[in-house]
Amino acid sequence: MKTKNLLPQIIEPFAIVALLCLFIVPTLTVINLSPITKEVQDKNVLGVNTFSSNTVVKLVGGIHDIIKNETLVNSNERQFLYKATIQKREAEETYSKPILKLQNNGTFPVKLSFFGYTDSKTNSKISLKIGRNSYLLKDYDSTLHAQEIILEPTSDTNLYLYIENTNRILFPEYFELEISL
């Protein structure tokens, strides 16, 4: 009596699974091979990115009558120190100059903290300006204020130093601005 070979029938379900795998495996591999940015891993709970490699802080430079000897030191990956000399100046005058160019090349907002001070107590009001927004650093009574700015993704902006004084200042002042990412 001739026996029926059942092996092909047993293999058939496995062959169907293999066929499905031939479609599913390349699909998943291609999806997984699609690169991503590292930023996604560093996004904190507030949705503000603290990953600093995409944030660029550059000195604008140029010549100004009052704000001179500008330098920008990158002390570490997350901290910058801007230094300048504010020359002697007349009373009831305002002076402004673009000092820094801020760039966020990433896809998430970046928070920048600013803290500025001078080496002398003069009746000068020093603030930072981005567009129409003003961020007070030093008041007329020499009170210091820390400021925070959110830099939107894929954006760049110029940061202006804005100086107002009621009295005439007869000597140069040294100004320092700490920038933290």
């Binding site: 066929l19 479609f23 591999t29 999806i31």
Partner: protein, 182 residues
């Protein structure tokens, strides 16, 4: 095991390999041509633990788009080739003028070899459709250039249309008189 299943498995191996190879080669080529910095990291989430990273989004979009384009081209070229070959072959059977043209172009030997079947076209077209869906989905997510998504969509539509035409021609072979009814 049925002959049909055996044949489907045999045909499916090449497009599956080429789909992965196309994507991989595209990534390697983009990194070499544009001299890009990338790094590989492990991640806990997802099916695969290895993930390719770029430090900025524009580079990631560029690499992803170019690798998608190469993958689509690698899958589309054979699919279109099979569709055109089958279509010319079927035309030679029905139209003597096509035979004359083919003979003049010295393509008779190429066209006379009927090694292209509907099944082959159908499987290659299926892989092209899967790849196109991935590209279009990534295009919607904003991680692939829109013109590459457009090319994928056009190629997918063309290959589906070609596969349907091939199916009709195969049906005409079995039921020649059915054609007159439509």
């Amino acid at each position: 095991m049925s002959r049909l299943l055996k044949r489907i498995l045999k045909i499916s191996v090449w497009p599956a390999i080429l789909m992965i190879a196309g994507k991989l080669l595209g990534i390697i080529a983009a990194n070499i041509v544009y001299k890009l910095d990338f790094f590989i990291d492990n991640q806990i989430e997802g099916i695969f633990s290895i993930q390719l990273y770029y430090t900025d989004s524009s580079t990631m979009v560029l690499v992803n788009s170019l690798s998608n384009l190469l993958m689509i081209i690698i899958l589309a070229v054979p699919t279109i080739y099979f569709i055109i070959k089958t279509s010319i072959y079927q035309s030679t059977l029905q139209n003597p003028r096509t035979i004359v043209k083919i003979t003049k172009l010295n393509l008779l030997k190429w066209i006379a070899k009927d090694d292209t079947s509907f099944l082959l076209i159908f499987i290659w077209c299926s892989f092209l459709l899967v790849a196109s869906f991935i590209v279009i989905a990534q295009n919607i997510q904003g991680i692939c250039y829109s013109w590459i998504g457009g090319i994928s969509a056009v190629l997918a539509i063309f290959s589906v249309w070609g596969t349907i035409k091939t199916y009709e021609q195969e049906i005409d072979k079995i039921y020649p008189k059915e054609k007159e009814l439509y």
